[in-house]
């Protein structure tokens, strides 16, 4: 193990690839080598990376489900409370709790809450907005949103070793391996 300062002065090591296939293959190798804190940066979503990076499940659908159920209950009971308790009006003898009439608004609020929670839940889980991130310091990283594929092993990984990890990444035939400074 290297000293603490090696780890703290570095966010990680970034390898740059030209092709999606090369990145996916490298990601598999990195995971096989036992690295845990690994991330890839790509201009398009790549399904094959999920397996390579062990991404099997995320919490967005659960958050959306909770949001949807909340919206449904809020929608219905808001109308119930208003029409039955707070402001009951007798319209031609119809029941105060005219539940079939409450369905459209209940439905709309279900959708509204579920949509907002899935969008904002996704952003929150991703830690966005995050205006600064160390990976932006990597020279040429601006091409990660156009046509380059990046793989980063973070320094906080237990196996991380400045020289050893660099040598390992070099063996995966990247275009370049760069230090990521925080």
């Amino acid at each position: 193990m290297h000293g603490q300062d090696t780890k703290s002065s570095l966010y990680g090591l970034m390898a740059e690839f030209e092709e999606a296939g090369a990145l996916v293959a490298a990601a598999h190798r990195v995971r096989e080598a036992g690295y845990e804190h690994v991330d890839a940066f790509t201009p398009v979503p790549i399904e094959e990376l999920h397996e390579a990076l062990d991404l099997h499940r995320n919490e967005v659908p659960l958050i959306a489900l909770i949001g949807g159920i909340t919206g449904c209950l809020v929608g219905f009971f808001l109308q119930y409370w208003i029409s039955v308790i707070a402001y009951p009006i007798n319209v031609g003898g119809r029941p105060f709790n005219s539940w079939p009439s409450f369905i459209p608004v209940t439905f709309e609020l279900t959708i509204l809450f579920a949509a907002l929670t899935s969008a904002f839940g996704m952003l929150a889980l991703n830690g966005l907005p995050m205006p600064y991130h160390p990976v932006f310091n990597v020279p040429g990283f601006e091409r990660a949103t156009t046509d380059r594929f990046f793989l980063c092993i973070e320094a906080k990984d237990e196996q991380f070793d400045r020289d050893g990890t660099r040598a390992f990444l070099e063996s995966l035939h990247p275009r370049e391996v760069t230090d990521v400074v925080p």
Partner: protein
């Protein structure tokens, strides 16, 4: 997997760089095209007309319009339904076709979604202006107030408030979520420091992390799944505004499906009306190919036929119900004082679009553009006929009346077209009008060739 050979959805010879460049350059170029300036000024002039008429309306009240009793719903509702219907194609293209894995949607989804947002904004103007006191619009929402009055949830008009505001909000969120990675591309390609900053803020610091993509894809799929029933519900609720009333010609169960089909019909017509000049002006023929136009024309033809079925049903109901008022309403619609509008509607919405059966028409761009304009007009006429002919002669002959729009009605209507086009021109200048990420996913470069590539 489908075995049917389909034409490519993107022109040949593209890679990630050329696609990103072609689309982002439209936004990032310093030179604003002269055509854009001219178009924007025209649109802006009409938007000024809108602002002036709205100001005059606030000063004088809704009496400047042609509405009266019995026709209390005049142009305002006609235009509201027209605009909200146009919006539906955007959500249909980006949500329903996403769930159906229709790849051709990718190159038109972004600006169709923008069209949705701006159309909903225009639609929203009309109920607001139609209120006697628009500054009290927030009375429509349930909020604790000193009057201790609450909305009446048994009324479709209240449902409409929730449907339209939910639709506007969800469309905006869906559109923005789709924009995030594209705006990050613009941030990274922009030369000017101001553009870098502005796009940097808008992109929320997107860095393309695989973990982010994973959740992003889930959220996009969820949003599409949620927007799909939403889009159907919105025009259904709009049709309830009519169908729940007992007015002859409105009180029919065919209204919800026939309104939804009409909305998609008019929406696709508007997408074509916008896409055809755009692809020519910005040389986007590689992304919005002839095949796209052909497919959209087919969707228009299909929904147009559903609409024709709806019109047929209305006539059948009027006869089969044996209801004096329903029968009179249909006779009056066809041969009464507004017969011209009815037959013009049949011509523009049903007869002329039959041209789309012919591949020669679907692949003839100017002719297709013409048909799309005809359908836009026809769908406006449809709402005009539904609103005016039903209201002006309902039950009692003593309460019959006539309706004629005033110059202010026309000015407000054309003014919202100006508002729509102004927003649209700003959109194509400052944001990527085609999804760059989705275009990239269409390229072989996005695929992984075998597990061990080296």
């Amino acid at each position: 997997m489908a075995v049917v050979e389909r034409p490519p959805v993107i022109g040949p010879g593209h890679d990630f760089e050329t696609v990103s460049k072609a689309i982002s350059e439209i936004v990032l170029t310093r030179k604003t095209p002269l055509g854009w300036v001219f178009g924007f000024l025209m649109a802006f002039t009409f938007m000024m007309i809108f602002l002036m008429t709205a100001t005059y309306l606030f000063l004088k009240g809704v009496g400047i319009w042609g509405i009266n009793i019995p026709v209390a719903w005049g142009f305002a509702i006609v235009n509201f339904v027209w605009w909200i219907g146009i919006g539906h194609a955007g959500t249909l293209i980006s949500a329903i076709l996403l769930l159906l894995h229709q790849k051709w949607r990718m190159s038109i989804s972004r600006f169709a979604e923008a069209m949705t947002l701006f159309a909903v904004a225009c639609a929203g103007m009309f109920p607001l202006l139609h209120m006697g006191r628009p500054w009290l619009f927030y009375w429509m929402f349930p909020y604790p107030n000193t009057m201790t009055v609450w909305p009446q949830f048994r009324s479709p008009l209240v449902w409409d408030v929730f449907a339209v505001s939910t639709y506007a909000t969800v469309s905006l969120v869906f559109w923005y979520v789709g924009l995030i990675p594209d705006v990050a591309t613009l941030r990274d390609r922009a030369k000017s420091p101001f553009a870098r900053k502005a796009f940097g803020i808008l992109s929320l610091g997107w860095r393309g992390s695989a973990r982010h993509w994973f959740r992003y894809e889930t959220a996009s799929l969820l949003l599409a799944g949620l927007a799909t029933p939403l889009v159907v519900s919105v025009h259904t609720v709009v049709s309830f505004d009519f169908a729940v009333a007992i007015v002859p010609g409105w009180h029919t169960t065919i209204f919800p499906p026939y309104f939804v089909a009409g909305a998609i019909y008019s929406g696709f017509a508007m997408v074509l009306t916008l896409a055809i000049p755009l692809r020519a002006a910005y040389r986007l023929e590689d992304f919005v190919t002839m095949w796209h136009l052909d497919v959209m024309a087919k969707v228009m033809l299909t929904t147009g036929l559903i609409l024709a079925y709806g019109y047929g049903c209305e006539v059948f109901y009027a006869w089969y119900s044996a209801d004096t008022f329903e029968r009179y309403m249909m006779w009056n619609r066809m041969f009464g004082p507004y017969a011209v509008a009815y037959w013009a509607l049949i011509a523009t919405n049903i007869v002329i679009p039959q041209l789309l059966w012919f591949k020669k028409v679907r692949t003839n761009v100017p002719l297709l553009f013409f048909v799309s304009l005809v359908v836009n007009t026809g769908m406006w006429l449809e709402r005009y006929v539904i609103v005016i002919t039903s209201l002006h002669r309902d039950f009692l002959v003593s309460s019959w009346g006539r309706y004629a729009p005033t110059v202010w009605d026309w000015a407000t209507f054309t003014g919202t077209i100006g508002l729509f086009l102004t927003l649209f021109f700003l959109f194509i200048r400052f944001l990527p009008m085609i999804s760059i990420v989705e275009m990239r996913t269409l390229l072989p470069q996005a695929g992984v060739k075998g597990k061990e590539a080296h």
